[in-house]
């Protein structure tokens, strides 16, 4: 059995959660990824961004989304707030880089206006994203510790 790997980041929205990782190695286009499922009022988000080779067609609802940053339209923050309101959001956002302003506004909007229990940690480092794989089980602690089990 392989050894657990532990990473430490900065807490943006705190919480504890254990679940399955879904990994995007490239910038995650928020609007393109969430648009279809949110528009059609689906119970799960199936990533609809055809340019995202890692996650296109994958279910990311209630999973732990691992990504470098978000990219795309400046509506990105509102879209994160929307999927959190619909409760079809990834339960945790884990950023390898410092969080971008669009994702940051989305997380803050979801916490303040939707009272969402979304969890977010940033600055986990490049090695985290190089190590974690889709399907891995991760444990996220409220102090920003992320363990790949």
């Amino acid at each position: 059995m392989s050894e657990s790997k532990v990473f430490k980041g900065r807490v943006i929205a705190k919480g504890n959660f254990k679940g399955e990782a879904v990994v995007s190695h490239e910038g995650f286009n928020t609007l393109a990824s969430f648009q279809k499922s949110a528009l059609l009022n689906k119970k799960n988000v199936i990533v609809s961004d055809q340019n995202n080779k890692d996650l296109y067609g994958k279910d990311i609802t209630n999973k732990i989304l691992c990504l470098p940053i978000t990219i795309g339209s400046t509506t990105g923050g509102l879209v994160i707030q929307t999927v959190c309101n619909m409760k079809i959001n990834p339960r945790v956002f884990l950023f390898s880089m410092p969080i971008d302003s669009l994702a940051a506004s989305g997380i803050v909007l979801a916490k303040v206006w939707q009272n969402s229990d979304v969890i977010c940690v940033d600055n986990l480092g490049e090695e985290f994203l190089n190590t974690v794989k889709t399907g891995d089980t991760l444990e996220v602690k409220e102090d920003g510790t992320v363990t790949i089990l």
């Binding site: 943006i12 400046t74 509506t75 509102l78 879209v79 302003s101």
Partner: protein, 429 residues
């Protein structure tokens, strides 16, 4: 009350404590928590109070947006200095849609448009003609001055305001733009601070002729991503004074750099205000260099994918004006199209051509250049204030062979990019 790190004044604390009402408390919480993430030390006053908002479209999926707007309207909370908006997504009069497209637009994609525009007017929208991504053009009137602090979103407007006007604004998200405009306060970080306005890239333009603005901006954006570039060698082509022609060029170059990368500020040596004042003092120690010559521009241009379903299809629609065209550009496209049609002995353009420009610019064009306006319609060119991006954000439009000279539109849609001279040839040959 929330835990926060930045220093707040007593008045700001009162809002955060809910003494001015629950809604303003949540607005303040959002702005403060957002600023804390970027280590802002304090909130600073917005000195150019007229905001600019990016979320101009009533797409039903954004229901928290409509709920928040309702809450603001119910309590008569407004932006202190009003605001302008990005362009509307629809204009059936000038950008024709078939029956099926109208159903998709009206019932699914933009079904909340009418209600949303009413909410916007109550929250401080300047007027019904304030829908354009180029709010900063003289005709549009939302034009900050050097040193002004803004609460704007829309990447192309932010990069123009920072770079060409010397104002100060971060690349904000939708909703944060409105909240800053309501409070008249924004967190002080990023491009609001002198140290972050210095360049970590030197761009050396060594082309044999003036580069296509949209490709130059794209090349810069793709290389520097979110960093600040200091561009040398462009003043040789653009001169050293900002005028209508150079503004139009820098508008298009900036939009491409902001959408192909994430540039929020650029400096052009001997031309843009901070570069004129400070020169090479704006360049950080250890800045990297990127040389752009004819071959490099061509390499970048050739890298753009052709997303058309039928790769060599005849173009069905040509969209020119993302970001919206200036008055100078409307006149130039008129002159170029008409003279090229005459040279080719043709009376009409080869496909539907739509020039997009701000309502207030179009009004000026109609008023002062009525003959040109009518002549364009006679040859099959229409003028609209639609957002080409929103229009093409429709699965039914994806299969159409749309051409554009906009690098932003190319990036976010299936439209295919062509240089200005190629577009002219394709629509008038």
């Amino acid at each position: 009350m929330i835990d926060y790190k930045m220093t707040l004044t007593d008045e700001q604390k009162e809002i955060l404590e809910g003494k001015k009402g629950e809604t303003l408390k949540k607005i303040m919480e959002t702005v403060v928590l957002f600023g804390d993430i970027f280590d802002a030390k304090r909130l600073v006053p917005v000195t150019h109070l007229e905001g600019h908002l990016v979320t101009s479209f009533g797409i039903p999926l954004l229901h928290p947006l409509f709920d928040t707007m309702k809450e603001l309207n119910d309590q008569n909370i407004k932006a202190k200095g009003g605001f302008t908006m990005d362009p509307r997504p629809l204009d059936y009069q000038n950008v024709k849609c078939n029956f099926l497209e109208k159903i998709v637009f009206n019932k699914i994609l933009y079904g909340k448009q009418k209600d949303y525009e009413e909410q916007l007017l109550k929250a401080g929208l300047t007027d019904k003609d304030s829908f354009s991504c180029t709010c900063y053009l003289k005709e549009c009137g939302n034009r900050p001055k050097k040193g002004d602090i803004l609460s704007w979103a829309e990447s192309s407007a932010v990069v123009f305001a920072n770079s060409v006007l010397g104002a100060r604004c971060n690349r904000n998200s939708g909703m944060l733009d409105l909240f800053g405009s309501i409070l008249g306060l924004v967190p002080e970080f990023g491009l609001l601070l002198d140290e972050n306005r210095k360049a970590s890239w030197v761009i050396e333009v060594k082309t044999s002729k003036i580069p296509e603005a949209q490709i130059l901006g794209s090349a810069i954006g793709l290389k520097v991503m979110e960093d600040v570039p200091y561009i040398k060698g462009l003043d040789k082509f653009l001169g050293t004074e900002i005028n209508d022609e150079t503004e139009s060029y820098l508008k298009d170059m900036g939009a491409a750099s902001a959408s192909n990368g994430a540039v929020g500020l650029f400096h052009v040596e001997n031309l843009t205000p901070e570069a004129k004042e400070q020169g090479e003092k704006l360049i950080k120690e250890g800045a990297k260099t990127y040389v752009i010559d004819d071959a490099e521009l061509e390499r970048v241009y050739k890298s753009y994918p052709n997303m058309w379903k039928v790769k060599d299809a005849d173009p069905e629609l040509c969209l020119i004006g993302c970001p919206h065209l200036s008055l100078y550009q409307l006149k130039k496209w008129h002159d170029d199209i008409i003279s090229s049609l005459r040279a080719n002995n043709k009376k009409k353009v080869n496909c539907r051509v739509v020039l997009t420009s701000a309502p207030k610019v179009v009004n000026e064009f109609k008023k002062h250049y009525e003959d040109m306006y009518n002549e364009l319609y006679r040859v099959g060119v229409t003028i609209s204030s639609i957002c080409p991006l929103m229009y093409t954000n429709n699965p039914l439009v994806h299969s159409k062979a749309i051409m554009t000279n906009s690098n932003k539109l190319r990036t976010y849609s299936m439209a295919r990019y062509f240089k200005d001279e190629e577009i002219l040839r394709l629509i008038t040959k």
